[in-house]
Every structure is written in structure tokens, then in C-alpha cells.
């Protein structure tokens, strides 16, 4: 699981350190960096898995405005089966006009190097921590991204696979359509490609689909099942079918014909059963959007059941009283920003004397006094 994130000289993050728990709620006022935090993790995941050039991410323009510092540092630590991994990336401007370059990129396992990329040279170590290869690589992109999984690099490959499997979501039902032209292995942040991602999940893990359908039957009245209707060569349309009783025909709605809330419910339970229950780290920004009040707590409880059962890790970013009241007392951390300065993380501390519900405590602004 993700155990530590360190960011320095990137947006509002200066010497910023966050140690996520297995189940955590991230709280904080508007503009305190909660969403930027998720975006930063997404950026790192993208860098390391896709190998795009750093210029594509406008990294230099995101240096902290009030710092006169060129270097930017990112660190990710994870506790996985093989031990404690630490990934570190240092970027600075180089050349004229300045372009971002990788000063160093390293992966350590239990404090021993398994990958080093410094001064444009890669040093690769095998699973016995013996140096196996040294070669030059383009310092305008992550060299870790170029490493292909192979036998003697299983530990490094395992970390890369894990990092690529951090899922970040900011669900936006407005962008979702029913049409799928093929299977998508990975979901987009806004789940625009839910139909194609679901098409892949259904093939990869049909057992989890049973759990998903059972959950959806509980949360959507008369829901029967999800189906992918053929609509041309390789084209499928994602539809939800609803029963109308024994004497009436079932009625079908394509995804785009469902309500925003119903689309979000399908997404949330898909994430629960196909991602979290499979042990992945999941970050969801405002999961409660479009969801009726009646449905928030049951989903939250199902998430807690999964995580408490030892599966997965979940970080929720939310302002919703329903989520705050359930998770903040024991699982809440708040991102705090003094005026327009840097962000820091503090545990949520409630008001032990007045016994106010946490959401009310926050609504009054007392958490930052």
C-alpha cells in the first residue's frame, strides 16, 4: 500500500509529506491542495508508466511561485509484498530555452538500490541487488518507464506494476457515453470510458461482475443487470436493464439515458468490486457527487468492509457531511494551508468538549482555530 508521498517545489507543495493510512479521508478547505495532490500522483503515474517527455506535463511552470528554487522533488513510498519501496524523482530546468530534465530517478527496496538513473545513465540491479547493466537514456523522460518486465527484474517490475495500478478518480457523469469501440484496460480519471473499461473488466473478472450486479440491485430500484448490446462491428452499447414485474417486459436504458446519479452509482460500485476488492490503491475525489443521501453511507460501509477485510487501500477526498461524520473522527486528516502558503497535513482533531458532529465542527470553521 501507499505509505508516504513527498512533494517539494510543485504548486502549493513545499517540503510536503503525507503518510496515507489504509483507509483515510482527506479534508480541507477549498484551495488547500487536496485535488492537486491527486493530480500530482496521477502525473507521476503517467510519467512512469507512459514514458512521455516531461515537457508534456508543464512541470517547470508548476514550480512553487514564491520559491526561488529550480529543483523539484517527488517521492513515493509503498509497503508491498517484497518490502518497502522508495521511488524518488528529481527534476530541474536545463538548456536554453529551459526544458525539464531528470536529475535523478531512483528506486530503492528496503534501502538498497534496484534502479538508478543519474546524469543520463541508467544503472539496473537484478533481484539479488547486483548491478547488471549501465546504459545511457534520454533525461527528458522517466527512464523507469522504459524498463520492460523480465525475469531478473521482478522486484522492480512489481513496483512499476503497483505504481501503474494506483487508481485516481474524479467521476464526471456528464462525459460518459454508452458506446464502446473496444476494451480499455485502464479507466480515465473522469470515467468517460466506463463502457469500454467495463467491457474489459467483464472479460477479465466475470466473478466480480456478479458482486457488482448484486450491489446495483440493492441501490437502484428494479435494476436487473448490465449488458453490452452489439451495435456494429466491435461496437457495444452499455445498457442497464430494469424489471417491471412478472407481467411486464423489462425496460432497457443505455448508459447515457440513465440519471447522473445512477451513472455515478454504477461507477462507484464498479470501483469497489473491480479495483478496491482486488487490492489496489484507490483515490476518489468527491465520490458523493450526484449520489442521493440515502446511498452514500451504504457505499461507504461497503468500502470500509472491503478495506477492513484486508483488501486494498482507499483515500477519499470529500466535503460531504455524511462522509465526514463517519470517517473523520478516526480516519480523517486535513490539508491545511496558511493563507497562500504551503500545504501541510494534520490529523483531524475534533472538539472533545462539545460533542459536535465533525461536519458541523468543520462547517463552523473550528477545525482550523
Amino acid at each position: 500500500m501507499l505509505t508516504r508521498v513527498y512533494i517539494d517545489n510543485f504548486g502549493c507543495f513545499v517540503n510536503f509529506e503525507h503518510k496515507p493510512a489504509r483507509k483515510q479521508l482527506v479534508l480541507g478547505r477549498n484551495g488547500c491542495g487536496k485535488s492537486s495532490y491527486m493530480d500530482t500522483l496521477l502525473l507521476l503515474r503517467q510519467l512512469v508508466t507512459k514514458g512521455d517527455v516531461l515537457d508534456d506535463f508543464s512541470i517547470l511552470s508548476k514550480r512553487t511561485r514564491w520559491l526561488n528554487q529550480s529543483r523539484q522533488t517527488f517521492e513515493i513510498e509503498a509497503e508491498l509484498e517484497e518490502g518497502r519501496y522508495c521511488y524518488r524523482l528529481v527534476v530541474d530546468p536545463w538548456g536554453e530555452p529551459a526544458r525539464p530534465r531528470v536529475v535523478s530517478e531512483t528506486v530503492h527496496l528496503n534501502d538498497q538500490p534496484i534502479f538508478e538513473f543519474q546524469l543520463a545513465t541508467v544503472h539496473l540491479y537484478n533481484d539479488e541487488y547486483e548491478q547488471r547493466a549501465a546504459y545511457e537514456s534520454d533525461w527528458h523522460r522517466s527512464a523507469l518507464a522504459t524498463i520492460m518486465p523480465r525475469g531478473e527484474l521482478q522486484k522492480l517490475s512489481g513496483f512499476k506494476r503497483w505504481l501503474g495500478g494506483i487508481y485516481c478518480f474524479r467521476i464526471n457523469p456528464f462525459t460518459m457515453g454508452a458506446r464502446s469501440e473496444g476494451e480499455d484496460l485502464n479507466p480515465r480519471v473522469d470515467l468517460l470510458n466506463i463502457a469500454s473499461w467495463y467491457r474489459h473488466l467483464l472479460q477479465a473478472d466475470p466473478k466480480q461482475n456478479i458482486a457488482l450486479l448484486n450491489s446495483l440491485r440493492e441501490v437502484m430500484d428494479d435494476f436487473s443487470y448490465l449488458k453490452l448490446d452489439p451495435a456494429g462491428e466491435n461496437i457495444r452499447l452499455l445498457a442497464a436493464e430494469f424489471d417491471r414485474g412478472e407481467d411486464a417486459n423489462a425496460v432497457k436504458f443505455y448508459l447515457n439515458q440513465l440519471s447522473d446519479g445512477q451513472r455515478c452509482l454504477i461507477c462507484l460500485y464498479t470501483i469497489l468490486h473491480f479495483v478496491l476488492a482486488k487490492g489496489s490503491t484507490v483515490i476518489i475525489d468527491e465520490p458523493e457527487n450526484f449520489i442521493s443521501l440515502r446511498e452514500i453511507q451504504p457505499w461507504l460501509t461497503a468500502v470500509a468492509d472491503t478495506v477492513e477485510g484486508g483488501k486494498g487501500q482507499v483515500l477519499l477526498i470529500s466535503h460531504h457531511p455524511e462522509i465526514i461524520n463517519q470517517w473523520a473522527p478516526k480516519n480523517g486528516v486535513q490539508f491545511v494551508r496558511d493563507r497562500i502558503g504551503a500545504v501541510r497535513v494534520e490529523p483531524f482533531r475534533g472538539d472533545s468538549d462539545s460533542c459536535l458532529p465533525p461536519a458541523e465542527f468543520i462547517a463552523r470553521g473550528w477545525e482550523s482555530e
Binding site: E218, V219, Q297, P298, W299, T301, A302, A304, D305, E308, G309, P321, N325, Q326, A328, P329, K330, F348, R349, G350, D351, S352, D353, S354, C355, L356, P357, P358, A359, E360, F361
Partner: protein, 181 residues
């Protein structure tokens, strides 16, 4: 008897909620059937909060019970006092609010662990515990909640063989839980 269409849980903290939730799953309740009241924001004021909202919770329970089968589970530690002290506090809360005390047939369940919920969780996991020692700082308690709930289900069945090591406050919970049936 049929089960309640909704169970409202008034728990002192997250561990109380978890034990109750996992017990209810054993009775075939699903997340949708269970509603947890919001926890208070500060640590250590949960029992005060439960007593404060208890009368309103009983009143709301009765209102809904008149139209749908409902249950109310109240879980609060006895702490260093006796279980009876909590019951008399509940009684006076109801008196002040002009609400009648629960009847024999009402599905209002009082779970009052002594000394605290961790005592029950450890006891249900076969540990020898007493009701004086404070076990709340035991580090392994969270992982023991699920097996504790499974044992609670078994021990609370009619005619279940409950070991002699079972603490008295937990024994008092078994007839309480049968109010859900």
C-alpha cells in the same frame, strides 16, 4: 419473525459500530438495512453524546415502527461504572424528554460493555479478560472485530454453550440481541 427493514445504530465509537455491523451481517442484514448515526467529532466524548441523543433516537424509532419494522441498537461502554448505571441514565434521559422506557417487545437493544468494547472483542476471541482492566489501547483489537462478531452471533443463539470465561456484561447482551428477532 421477520427482520427489521432498517436498523439504526447509535454507537459510541467506530469499534462499537464495526462490531454491531458485522454482527448484523451474520443476521443477513446488508449495508442498506443499517443506518449509523454520526459519531461526535472529538475522541472520548462518545458516551456523553450517546446519552444526549438517546431519547430522540427512541422517539424516532417509535415513529417509524408504527409503519415499518425497525430496530435501534445502542452501544455504549459502562466504563468504570456498572451496567445498571448506564441503564438508569437512559431512563432519566427518557424521563426528561417525556418519553416512555422501552417495553419488553420493542426492538431497542442496549449493548453496554464493561469496561469497554475492547473487553468484549477480546473475550469473544477467547482471551481471558476482566471488566476492570482498560484494554482500549491493545494494538490488535481492530483485526479481532470480525471474528468477535462471528462468535457473538454463535453465543447469542438460544441454548448456545457460552464459556464460563464470558464476562457478565457480555452475558447481559445475549437476551438484548434477541430483541432483534
Amino acid at each position: 419473525m421477520s427482520k427489521a427493514s432498517q436498523v439504526i445504530v447509535l454507537g459510541e465509537d467506530e469499534r462499537h459500530q464495526q462490531l454491531v455491523r458485522r454482527y448484523l451481517y451474520r443476521l443477513s442484514y446488508r449495508p442498506h438495512d443499517i443506518r449509523f448515526e454520526a459519531l461526535p467529532s472529538g475522541r472520548g466524548c462518545g458516551e456523553q453524546w450517546v446519552r444526549d441523543v438517546y431519547a430522540d433516537a427512541v422517539r424516532a424509532y417509535r415513529n417509524r415502527s408504527s409503519r415499518a419494522k425497525t430496530a435501534l441498537i445502542v452501544a455504549i461502554d459502562a466504563d468504570t461504572g456498572e451496567v445498571e448505571r448506564r441503564l438508569s441514565q437512559f431512563r432519566s434521559s427518557l424521563d426528561q424528554a417525556n418519553v416512555a422506557f422501552r417495553t419488553e417487545k420493542e426492538a431497542v437493544v442496549h449493548l453496554i460493555p464493561k469496561r469497554n468494547i475492547e473487553t468484549w472483542i477480546l473475550c469473544l476471541n477467547g482471551r481471558i479478560v476482566d471488566e476492570i482492566t482498560d484494554y482500549s489501547r491493545n494494538t490488535d483489537v481492530d483485526e479481532l472485530i470480525a471474528p468477535a462478531a462471528a462468535t457473538l452471533f454463535v453465543w447469542s443463539r438460544p441454548d448456545a454453550g457460552v464459556p464460563v470465561e464470558c464476562v457478565p456484561s457480555l452475558r447481559m447482551a445475549f437476551p438484548e440481541l434477541r430483541r432483534l428477532e
